[in-house]
C-alpha cells in the first residue's frame, strides 16, 4: 500500500490517486424537467483505499457509483481514473475500460441465472478474449479463493445469498481490477453473512485493490477506513475511519 511514483496526483494522506473527480455535475431529463443529481463533486480516492459512500436515498450515491463505474456519462467537470481522463467515452471504449480496470459487486448479486457458478466467474475473461480452458482454470482458482470450490457446478438458485455474493466477488476479482465497486453488497444478506462478506472484501482490499462500497448501514461503513456522506448531490462529510 505504499506510495506510487508513477502518479503525480496524490491524496491528502499521501497515497497515489486512483480516481479523482473535480466539479462533477450530472442531471437526468425527467420528461420536461431535469433532475440535477450531482451538483459538483470533488473527490480523490487513493490506490488501495477502502472507502464507503453513505447517503439517504435520493442523495445521488447510486448515480455517483454509476459515473465512477463508467456505466453512465456526466455533464460537467472532470473524472480521472487511473491517470486517464474519462469523458464522453464511446460505449465500446467504456466497456473495454470497465473490463480492464473495474470490478462490480451488486446488492442483488446479478449472477446470470442459467450459468453455473464457475461459468459466472469466468464471464469477464470471455470479454477479455481469454481462451475457454484458461478461463475455466482461473475461474476455479478464484472460486476456491472465496471458499466455493465445491459449488462450481451449481446454478445460482442452488446457492445461499452469501454464497451467491461470494461468487459475484470472485467474478469481480477474476479480471484483476484496480478498483472494486460494491453497491450495497450486504443489502440482501443477514447480519452474520454480511460480516462474513465484509471480511472477504477487507481481505481483498488488504491485497491492494481499491474498494468503494456504497451502503446505508452504519455497521458496514464502520468497517471501512474512510466514510463519505452524500447529501443532495454534494459531499457533506468526508471522514477518516
Amino acid at each position: 500500500m505504499g506510495t506510487s511514483a508513477a502518479s503525480t496526483h496524490t491524496t491528502g494522506n499521501g497515497k497515489a490517486a486512483m480516481l479523482r473527480m473535480s466539479g462533477l455535475h450530472k442531471s437526468y431529463a425527467m420528461g420536461a424537467n431535469t433532475l440535477h443529481v450531482l451538483k459538483g463533486i470533488d473527490l480523490d480516492i487513493g490506490s488501495g483505499e477502502l472507502v464507503s459512500i453513505m447517503g439517504a436515498s435520493g442523495s445521488g450515491k447510486s448515480t455517483l457509483l454509476n459515473v465512477v463505474g463508467l456505466l453512465d456519462n456526466y455533464d460537467a467537470g472532470e473524472y480521472v481514473l487511473d491517470g486517464q481522463l474519462v469523458k464522453n467515452l464511446s460505449e465500446t471504449r467504456a466497456a473495454i475500460l470497465r473490463g480492464q480496470l473495474l470490478g462490480f459487486i451488486f446488492q442483488s448479486f446479478n449472477l446470470i441465472a442459467f450459468k453455473t457458478a464457475l461459468e459466472n466467474v469466468a464471464m469477464p475473461l470471455y470479454y477479455r478474449g481469454v481462451r475457454r480452458g484458461e478461463r475455466m482454470r482461473r475461474a476455479a482458482e478464484y472460486l476456491d479463493r472465496v471458499g466455493l470450490a465445491d459449488w462450481a457446478g451449481h446454478l445460482p438458485r442452488e446457492l445461499s445469498g452469501g454464497q451467491q455474493q461470494r461468487v459475484a466477488i470472485a467474478r469481480a476479482l477474476i479480471s484483476e481490477p484496480k478498483v472494486i465497486l460494491a453497491d450495497e453488497p450486504t443489502g440482501a444478506l443477514d447480519s452474520q453473512t454480511s460480516l462474513e462478506v465484509m471480511d472477504v472484501l477487507r481481505g481483498i482490499n488488504a491485497g491492494g485493490v481499491t474498494m468503494i462500497i456504497v451502503t446505508h448501514e452504519r455497521e458496514i461503513a464502520a468497517l471501512t477506513q474512510r466514510v463519505i456522506r452524500l447529501r443532495d448531490g454534494l459531499i457533506e462529510t468526508d471522514g477518516r475511519g
Binding site: G99, F106, P124, R131, E184
Partner: protein, 410 residues
C-alpha cells in the same frame, strides 16, 4: 471468423431456453415448408402442362371443317363444309408462313389390321409425309411415308412399335404385308411416339392410297400444319389468312366461326406459359409472405427475449461486453435458429413433395413436383438473410441496453 467460444455461448443460451427456441424454430420451419411445397407444386403444374404438349408440335395449327351458321350470298346457313385435296394444295402453295402441312383422311367404318393369324383393331391415319413433324413421330426402323408413296398410290404402311410387338412378336416387320380390312399393305417403317400407348398403336397410310382404296375420292377430314417459329401475332395472322382462303373457296362468311374451327397451338401454348408464370409468381408471393410471417415471429420472440434478458445484458456490459459483442450475440442466435429450423423445413418440404408425387402418380395436369437446386439455394440464402433481418432490430435494442437501468434494483 469462426469463434468457437461465441457459438458455445449461443448454444448455451439456446439450450437454457428450449421452449422459446423450439417455438421460434417452428415458425421458420413452417414458413420454409410452405414455401418449398408451394414452389414444388407450381413446378408440378408446369410439368403437367409440358407433359400435355409433349407429343405435339407446339407450333401446330389444326383446321377442322364444320357447318355454316350464317346465310351468305343468298345461300342458307347449315351447309356442311367438306375439305378436299384442292384445299390442301391451295394452302400448301398459297399461304405464306406454312412450314409443314398434312391432311388426314378418316377411313369410314371399323378397321381391322391383321398379320398372319393375328388380328386386332388399331388407329389408322392416312396422312401426308409432313405428318411426322406434327406428331413428333420418331422413326426407329425403315422410313416414314414419302412423296413417291403419295404420287404412286403405293400400298405401304408405317406401324407403331406396339403394333409391331403385338402382331410380329419380335420378328422383322419391314417388308412384310399386313392387311387393313383385308387389303394388303407393305410395312416400310416402324416408329415410336412419346404420346403413350395410344400413339404407339397407330398405323400410318399414304393419304392418296387410302382415299383411292377406301372410297374417299378427294375428300379430306382435317388439315394440320406448323408455322415454324412464328410469334403469337404472326401465327394469328397466318390463321386469319387460312380462314379467309378457305371461306373464299367454300363460299361462306369469313367471320362464321362454326364453318371451320382453327386451333392455334402457338396461342394455346403461350396462354399456358402465361398461366404458368402467373402461378409461379403467385406461389413466390404467397411463399415469401408465409416466410415473412415466420421472420416477424422470430423477430418478435427475439424482441421478447431481449427484453427478458435486459438484466443479463446489463450484467454482461458491466463485465466488459461491448455493444457490438451484445449485438452479435443476438444476431447470431437469430441466424442460427432460422438457418437450422429452415433447413429442417426444407427437408420436410422435400419429403412432403415426394409424398405428393407418390400419391398422385399418373395425373396428367400435375407431375413430378420438385424443387431444383436453384430454388433450394435461393431459399437457403433467403433464410440466412431473413435470420439477420429478424435479429437486427432486437439486436440493436439489446446493444442499446443501459447497464444503469438494467441493473437498478427494485
Amino acid at each position: 471468423m469462426f469463434d468457437l467460444d461465441v457459438w458455445q455461448e449461443i448454444l448455451d443460451t439456446l439450450r437454457k431456453n428450449k421452449l422459446r427456441t423450439a417455438l421460434t424454430g417452428f415458425s421458420v420451419a413452417w414458413g420454409i415448408l410452405m414455401l418449398v411445397v408451394l414452389l414444388g407444386s407450381g413446378q408440378g403444374l408446369a410439368h403437367g402442362v409440358e407433359y400435355g404438349f409433349r407429343d405435339d408440335a407446339t407450333n401446330s395449327v389444326f383446321i377442322r371443317s364444320g357447318q355454316t351458321s350464317t346465310p351468305y350470298h343468298g345461300m342458307p346457313p347449315g351447309r356442311f363444309v367438306q375439305f378436299t385435296n384442292e384445299d390442301y394444295s391451295s394452302i400448301k402453295d398459297g399461304v405464306a408462313g406454312v412450314e409443314h402441312i398434312t391432311s388426314r383422311f378418316f377411313i369410314p367404318g371399323n378397321l381391322t389390321v391383321a398379320y398372319g393369324r393375328e388380328t386386332s383393331s388399331y388407329n389408322v391415319r392416312s396422312v401426308h409425309p409432313d405428318h411426322r413433324f406434327l406428331e413428333k413421330t420418331i422413326i426407329t426402323e425403315g422410313r416414314f411415308i414419302n412423296d413417291t408413296d403419295i404420287g404412286e398410290f403405293r400400298k405401304v404402311a408405317v406401324i407403331g412399335d406396339r403394333i409391331k410387338a403385338q402382331l410380329f412378336k419380335g420378328q422383322a416387320a419391314i417388308g412384310e404385308y399386313i392387311r387393313v380390312n383385308g387389303i394388303p399393305f407393305r410395312v416400310v417403317g416402324v416408329f415410336t411416339d412419346e404420346g403413350g400407348e395410344n400413339e404407339s398403336e397407330t398405323l400410318y397410310l399414304p393419304i392418296s392410297t387410302a382415299q383411292r382404296t377406301f372410297n374417299g375420292a378427294n375428300r379430306v377430314g382435317m388439315m394440320m400444319l406448323t408455322v415454324g417459329d412464328a410469334s403469337v401475332e404472326q401465327s394469328k395472322a397466318i390463321t386469319a389468312g387460312l380462314r379467309e382462303r378457305i371461306a373464299a373457296r367454300h363460299s361462306f362468311d369469313p367471320d362464321d366461326q362454326r364453318a371451320v374451327t382453327i386451333y392455334n397451338a402457338v396461342v394455346e401454348f403461350q396462354r399456358f406459359m402465361g398461366l404458368m408464370s402467373g402461378i409461379r409468381l403467385f406461389v413466390w408471393v404467397i411463399g415469401i409472405g408465409t416466410l415473412l410471417a415466420g421472420v416477424v415471429g422470430v423477430s418478435n420472440i427475439m424482441m421478447i427475449a431481449v427484453k427478458e434478458r435486459t438484466k443479463e445484458i446489463g450484467i454482461r456490459k458491466a463485465l466488459g461486453a461491448t455493444p457490438w459483442s451484445v449485438m452479435r450475440l443476438v444476431l447470431q442466435e437469430a441466424v442460427l435458429v432460422t438457418s437450422v429450423a429452415g433447413y429442417f423445413g426444407l427437408v420436410a418440404g422435400v419429403g412432403v413433395l415426394q409424398l405428393m408425387a407418390h400419391a398422385i402418380q399418373g395425373s396428367d395436369f400435375f407431375r413430378n413436383p420438385e424443387v431444383n437446386l436453384g430454388v433450394a439455394v435461393s431459399a437457403t440464402v433467403l433464410l440466412v438473410v431473413a435470420g439477420a433481418i429478424a435479429g437486427f432490430i432486437p439486436a440493436r435494442r439489446a446493444a442499446a441496453v443501459r447497464p444503469v437501468e438494467a441493473l437498478r434494483d427494485e
